[in-house]
């Protein structure tokens, strides 16, 4: 079994599904001969042909719009938006069409579409290349929103997304693409959507995060462990629909919760999780829920991006605050 990084795991999952199901087609900008700007689709056009791995003209609206037509007519399109900062022209099609075609036709037509897009900051990219749009997508009824945080989960969740009969937004944290390698078996085993993964058990508090921020969150858990504090770490993974029971069960044991995300704070998914904890888990809480998030500022260019991204220190400080509360 080979050790691979997250972007190679994406490639492996795409190749697996292209080979398994001839209805699967990939489309996007520069995904063919170039293999994608991050090489997520490297070698796939050569292997599966230009009819199934399609280099499209440069128009995000039509990439998603045409993929909706393909999906409704029996294909399983996996569209790539080169960076999530370029997803916005396609929001009309995601919100008004992909997310509601099944409902609008009472199940007559469906939209088994995956939109893959790199997201997040921390790779010193140019302007508009470091967005975290998960909350606005999660706010849309009818969309699933998934963000992997390891090669194995990228492989398993992408298989599940492609096989899912409904539209799935698959957000790939660019900072995780080549951050570490792990063994991933190309066994075609999908991971479940709609569930959180508990990455490490703990008893003193619960750290909830997703995507690239799990790197800092795990590091914070290590730092806390060095002080004798036992932090449970949950990877939300599927951001919509949210697996609240897993989070509630953890917080019922620990009594304390810190939610960490890279996206801006206001109306972010941290607010949704905190509100749900207030509704369903208030009496388990020993301290107010804390959020460690990106600021409500424009994502800065690369010189300041690490001052925007939640740091290990900020997460540890928030954890201490919950521990000191009672």
């Amino acid at each position: 079994m080979a050790e691979i990084n997250l972007v190679e795991a994406v490639n492996l999952a795409l190749a697996h599904e292209l080979a398994r199901d001839e209805a699967v087609v990939l489309l996007g900008e520069d995904i063919g001969a170039n293999g994608g700007v991050f090489r997520a689709t490297a070698g796939l056009q050569q292997r599966f042909g230009a009819g199934r791995v399609v280099d499209t003209p440069l128009a995000e609206t039509a990439i998603v719009g045409t993929a909706i037509g393909m999906a409704a007519m029996g294909l399983r399109p996996v569209a790539e938006i080169q960076f999530s900062g370029f997803l916005y022209p396609a929001i009309d099609h995601l919100v008004n069409h992909a997310a509601r075609l099944r409902n609008r036709t009472r199940g007559r037509l469906a939209c088994p579409l995956v939109v893959r897009t790199p997201c997040g900051g921390g790779i010193h990219a140019p302007e508009h290349h470091s967005e975290s749009p998960e909350a606005m997508l999660a706010h849309t009824p009818g969309l699933r929103v998934v963000m992997p945080s390891s090669p194995a989960r990228a492989y398993g969740l992408l298989l599940a997304a492609i096989r899912d009969p409904d539209p799935v937004m698959f957000l790939e944290p660019t900072r995780m693409y080549r951050l570490f390698r792990q063994e991933v078996a190309d066994d075609g085993e999908a991971l479940p959507l709609d569930v959180c993964f508990t990455l490490r058990g703990g008893t003193d508090l619960t750290l909830v995060s997703w995507g690239a921020m799990l790197h800092e969150t795990q590091a914070a858990a290590d730092a806390l462990a060095a002080e004798g504090i036992s932090a449970e770490v949950i990877d939300v993974a599927t951001l919509k629909p949210l697996d609240l029971p897993t989070i509630l069960e953890s917080v019922a044991r620990t009594g304390r919760c810190v939610i960490v995300h890279e996206a801006a704070r206001t109306a972010g998914l941290g607010a949704e999780i905190a509100a749900s904890l207030a509704e369903e888990g208030l009496y388990s809480l020993l301290a107010p829920v804390q959020r460690v998030t990106g600021y409500d500022t424009v994502m800065p260019l690369s010189r300041l991006e690490y001052q925007y991204l939640p740091s290990v220190e900020r997460i540890v400080a928030a954890a201490r605050k919950t521990l000191e509360a009672s």
């Binding site: 039509a62 099609h93 609008r104 036709t105 629909p241």
Partner: protein, 367 residues
């Protein structure tokens, strides 16, 4: 300096506004067995249209978009389609939808506020009405790509209006389909008005058909009130699409004789005298005159058709008004193939608080 490319736009018209042939006609245009069903479909569309407006005015239907004056376009194009093709309509193409097998009661359910109206019993592959302007061009291009990839002899047919031609989706969809040589027909029903904005304020181009040229797509203009011309160019475009010749844009020039929708009052922004003038170009009279000259039509047949259409429409209205109410759970049950666990509690809440009035009949809540 040298000319590197040169373009032109053809305009097709076979019958003048009085129904007189302007030259040799295509074969089908001399065959009553082909023409009469299309005349019937146009007549039925107009009967349905008038009834839908009456239902709205009496509080029995929601907002409705009339196709008055544009019947030849939908009927002429849809009659050139095959059942296995797929239609991507705007919200003003019930003429095409009726030909495709969409039932009047289904259309009424849709305009009456019931999603089941888009669960067509026939035309299972056709898209529902598209309200976000022009977006359907992209969907149709993607569908056409799917047909081509699988080697199927099917075509995607998309309708939009003159306002829609200002949207990026229109150009992007055409551009993708052209690069893909996808079997796509885009029909632009240029009815001169996008709600209150006239054609002259919509685009500075001499024609809307020429917008296809920028995408490398053949663009043609047709008299949209001449059923013979519309059907002829649609047949040619679909034959080309099936033969691998790629997409076509047809600009069908017509006139919106009614308001934008029942929620609009066009007298606020256009001269009723101009609208009155446009009635002399409307498509039903033109085709009827032609049928009379062919010896295939007369007052008795016209009266019989009027009766038949009235009966069909009345039966559909009855079916619409007696439709059982939608269930509260339906909001949730078609959102995903399988309801996610996270939504189960919301579904339960909706059911628990569902008002008893959820059982009211269609048409009972459009004040």
């Amino acid at each position: 300096m040298s000319t590197v490319a040169r373009f032109h736009i053809d305009h097709t018209r076979f019958l003048d506004p009085q129904g007189e042939p302007l030259g040799p006609l295509p074969d089908f245009a001399c065959d009553p067995a082909r023409l009469v069903p299309m005349y019937r479909a146009m007549y039925l569309t107009r009967s349905f249209d008038a009834k839908a407006i009456a239902l709205q005015r009496t509080g029995k239907l929601g907002t409705f978009a009339s196709a008055l004056g544009q019947e030849a376009i939908g009927v002429g194009v849809a009659s050139a389609m095959r059942p296995e093709d797929a239609l991507f309509p705007s919200y003003r193409e019930h003429a095409a939808q009726l030909v495709r097998g969409v039932r009047i009661e289904e259309s009424l359910r849709y305009w009456g506020g019931d999603e089941r109206g888009s669960d067509f019993a026939e035309a299972r592959h056709d898209f529902p009405n598209c309200v976000p302007i022009g977006t359907q061009v992209c969907h149709a291009a993607g569908a056409a790509y799917a047909f081509r990839l699988r080697g199927e002899a099917r075509a995607a047919v998309c309708f939009l209006g003159d306002g829609g031609s200002s949207k990026g989706d229109f150009y992007e969809g055409l551009n993708f389909a052209a690069v893909w040589k996808a079997p796509l027909l885009v029909v632009l029903s240029n009815n001169q008005w996008a709600i209150s904005v006239p054609r002259s304020a919509q685009s500075a181009t001499a024609t809307l058909a020429q917008k296809a040229i920028a995408a490398g797509v053949e663009g043609v203009q047709v008299d949209g009130n001449d059923l013979v011309a519309v059907h002829h160019v649609a047949r040619e475009a679909l034959a080309k699409a099936r033969a691998g010749g790629g997409p076509t844009l047809i600009e069908a020039v017509t006139y919106r004789l009614g308001d934008h929708t029942t929620a609009d009052d066009a007298s606020r922004y256009r001269d009723p005298a101009v609208v009155q003038e446009q009635w002399s170009f409307e498509p039903l009279t033109r085709l009827r005159n032609h049928l009379v000259k062919l010896g295939a039509w007369g007052p008795e047949k016209e009266e019989a058709l009027a009766r038949e259409c009235a009966e069909t429409v009345n039966a559909a209205v009855e079916a619409y008004l007696s439709t059982p109410p939608p269930t509260t759970a339906a909001m949730f049950d078609h959102l995903f193939a399988t309801l996610p666990a996270a939504l189960a509690a919301q579904r339960d809440e909706a059911l628990r608080f569902a008002p008893r009035t959820a059982g009211r009949q269609p048409g009972g809540d459009h004040g």
